[in-house]
């Protein structure tokens, strides 16, 4: 537990220390909107999967230098999900609200043979929360908050003579995470079940989670985007990403999101 915390803090500090060597910075602001195809399978409340299409919005700030790329991005999604079942009329109206903050830092690898293709290995810190609300007889709430850290790889591929088209791909996964989710039969995390009810604060909820590693929590994100530079100051980007979480506890929880997002990038 302490070792994992030390590793996470060291990686974060290292990222900021390395960041100091930035010289020629190119700052990019991106804003986008799109849709997500979401699947949630949470044995906490259903043996059936819930799927649906939700809206999403994203914002990001990217710094690119000759040595590294760092990116801070925000993501917000909202929509309705339905139970995957061919019959029955007890389908509850389930609303999903999800948000995430991701920080990715990658270093450029030297590639003398192919200047059109660049590899950037590094790491990603991600913090996200999914909150879903069902209405049967009154509202039923479920949530999962997670902060995770793990390696990331970005590949940039320029296309054409003028390099106006660029394909950018990223893959990352988590190796350690801090997770907060409700215990079975309660809206509280398991660590709070024997705590005095009236004394529980929002901070207690946040502190009521647990550290988990690859054997209990798997998160993988794959992104592929194609951008076209309209001019020096403005690009358009179409991005597809797949974000997958699997939390193993008493009752497994799986969340998968296929996101398609159209963005404007200001240089």
């Amino acid at each position: 537990m302490h070792r994992t915390k030390t590793i996470i803090i060291s990686v974060i500090i290292l990222v900021f220390v390395i960041n100091v060597d930035a010289r020629e910075k190119d700052l990019l602001f991106s804003a986008g909107a799109g849709i997500s195809y979401v699947t949630i399978h949470d044995n906490n409340f259903s043996v059936m999967s819930y799927t649906g299409i939700t809206g999403l919005a994203s914002l990001s700030i990217t710094t690119e230098t000759s040595a590294y790329i760092d990116e801070l991005s925000l993501f917000f999604g909202k929509g309705k999900l339905n139970m995957d079942v061919s019959s029955g009329t007890a389908r509850p109206n389930t609303a999903l609200t999800a948000g995430a903050i991701d920080y990715t830092y990658v270093r450029k690898l030297k590639n003398k043979t192919n200047t059109h293709r660049q590899f950037f290995p590094g790491g990603k810190f991600s913090s996200s929360v999914g909150f879903y609300k069902r209405n049967y007889y009154g509202d039923n709430f479920y949530y999962c908050y997670q902060s995770s850290i793990g390696p990331a790889l970005i590949v940039h591929q320029s296309i054409g003579e003028k390099c106006r088209w660029q394909v950018s791909s990223q893959v990352d996964f988590s190796i350690a995470a801090y997770i907060v989710y409700p215990a079975y039969g309660s809206s509280m995390p398991e660590n709070l079940l024997d705590k005095e009810l009236s004394g529980i604060t929002a901070w207690d909820y946040m502190a009521g989670g647990e550290m988990v590693t690859l054997n209990r929590f798997q998160r993988i994100t794959c992104k592929t985007g194609i951008s076209y530079a309209l001019c020096k100051k403005l690009s358009l980007m179409l991005l597809y990403s797949w974000d997958f979480h699997h939390l193993k506890h008493g009752d497994d929880m799986i969340q998968a999101m296929h996101n398609a997002c159209f963005s404007l990038i200001l240089h």
Partner: protein, 339 residues
């Protein structure tokens, strides 16, 4: 040409990418009567809270009811079998749900019937001549120098302002009668909102035990529930809570929590019970099952599931009713004046 080939390749790959999480997803159970039965039985087996307390042999019931399931059965037949199985739990918080239809313990064979000992029309005419006022969901009036509040359902939320207004109005009264007869429950937040205007210091009112494993006796340590004074002022005089068998769930919990306070007496009949927090679980055929997922005790160890007995058992006498009197209210007034 190369680019076009890559593009076609990518399009062909898309369905595979879109379904990649299916590798990790467990196969959902089939929509068959047997699968629905199995999921329903197992969910309750692992998470229902009262098997031990009610001494229910759930394993034996599995064999009894499984024998009634067959693949070609109609949905209404499956409903009847599952409903009969759920009846064995004798629990008002256990329901089978199909959209608008809910099965209920009161429809089960052997479900007891009790008199209400309550006639709201009699109260509102005989004591108030139909002049009861409302502060949100609370109906209130004054009988001589005693405040009367009727709260019909905990599903109707009370705001801080609404309860403060009534408590302020009754601050100089000799006592307050809180009538919750026929209150079927609702949101437990409303319990705290009322009780926090009656307590004078932080008071332990309940112990809650949560399921932590799949065994019938796997429960967490007790979670203590305290109520502290809140709002503009507290009423410290005598309070009577009027109850009957139709006070369920949050109303049952309200009575239990109020009975802990030294200035409160419970008058009427034993409450209807329903001490566990209900939870919903989806079944493979699109129905859902609701069940009690934890249990609660009064600090003295009384289990709330079977109801809270009154301090004074008082029934509505027909002779009083004919004379335009509510026996419970009359008893409450006498007790308050005697304090």
């Amino acid at each position: 040409m190369q680019t076009v080939k890559k593009l076609i390749g990518l399009i062909l790959l898309l369905p595979a990418i879109l379904s990649c999480e299916k590798i990790f997803l467990d196969d959902s159970p089939e929509n068959t009567p047997m699968a629905t039965f199995e999921v329903c039985w197992k969910e309750l087996d692992e998470h229902y809270a009262y098997f031990t307390m009610k001494n229910i042999h759930w394993d034996s019931l599995y064999h009894v009811y499984k024998a009634l399931i067959y693949d070609q059965m109609e949905q209404y037949e499956l409903w009847d079998v599952l409903h009969a199985m759920l009846c064995e739990l004798h629990d008002g918080h256990v329901n089978l749900i199909d959209g608008e239809r809910w099965s209920h313990w009161s429809e089960c064979n052997g479900s007891p019937r009790y008199p209400e000992y309550f006639d709201f029309d009699l109260i509102s005419y005989s004591y108030f001549k139909y002049t009861l006022k409302s502060s949100g969901p609370l109906l209130y009036g004054i009988i001589d120098s005693v405040g009367y509040i009727y709260y019909s359902s905990f599903t109707m939320d009370i705001s801080d302002e609404e309860i403060d207004f009534v408590i302020n109005l009754f601050k100089d009264m000799k006592g307050i009668i809180i009538d919750i007869r026929n209150n079927g429950g609702g949101d437990s937040e409303n319990i705290t909102r009322i009780q926090s205007r009656i307590v004078t210091k932080k008071t332990l009112v309940e112990l809650i035990y949560y399921k932590t494993g799949t065994g019938h006796a796997d429960f967490s340590a007790a979670q203590e529930v305290y109520v502290s004074p809140e709002g503009k002022l507290q009423f410290t005089g005598p309070v009577v809570v009027l109850t009957n068998r139709y006070c369920f769930s949050s109303a049952n919990m309200f009575v239990s929590r109020m009975s802990v306070l030294p200035n409160v007496n419970i008058v009427g009949d034993t409450t209807g019970g329903g001490g566990g927090k209900p939870r919903f679980f989806d079944l493979p055929n699109g129905w859902a099952v609701r069940y009690s997922s934890n249990y609660a005790l009064r600090p003295d160890g009384l289990n709330l599931e079977n109801g809270v007995p009154p301090d004074f058992r008082v029934t509505l006498w027909p002779i009083d009713k004919r004379a335009g009197r509510d026996t419970l209210i009359e008893f409450a007034l006498l007790w308050i004046y005697s304090q």
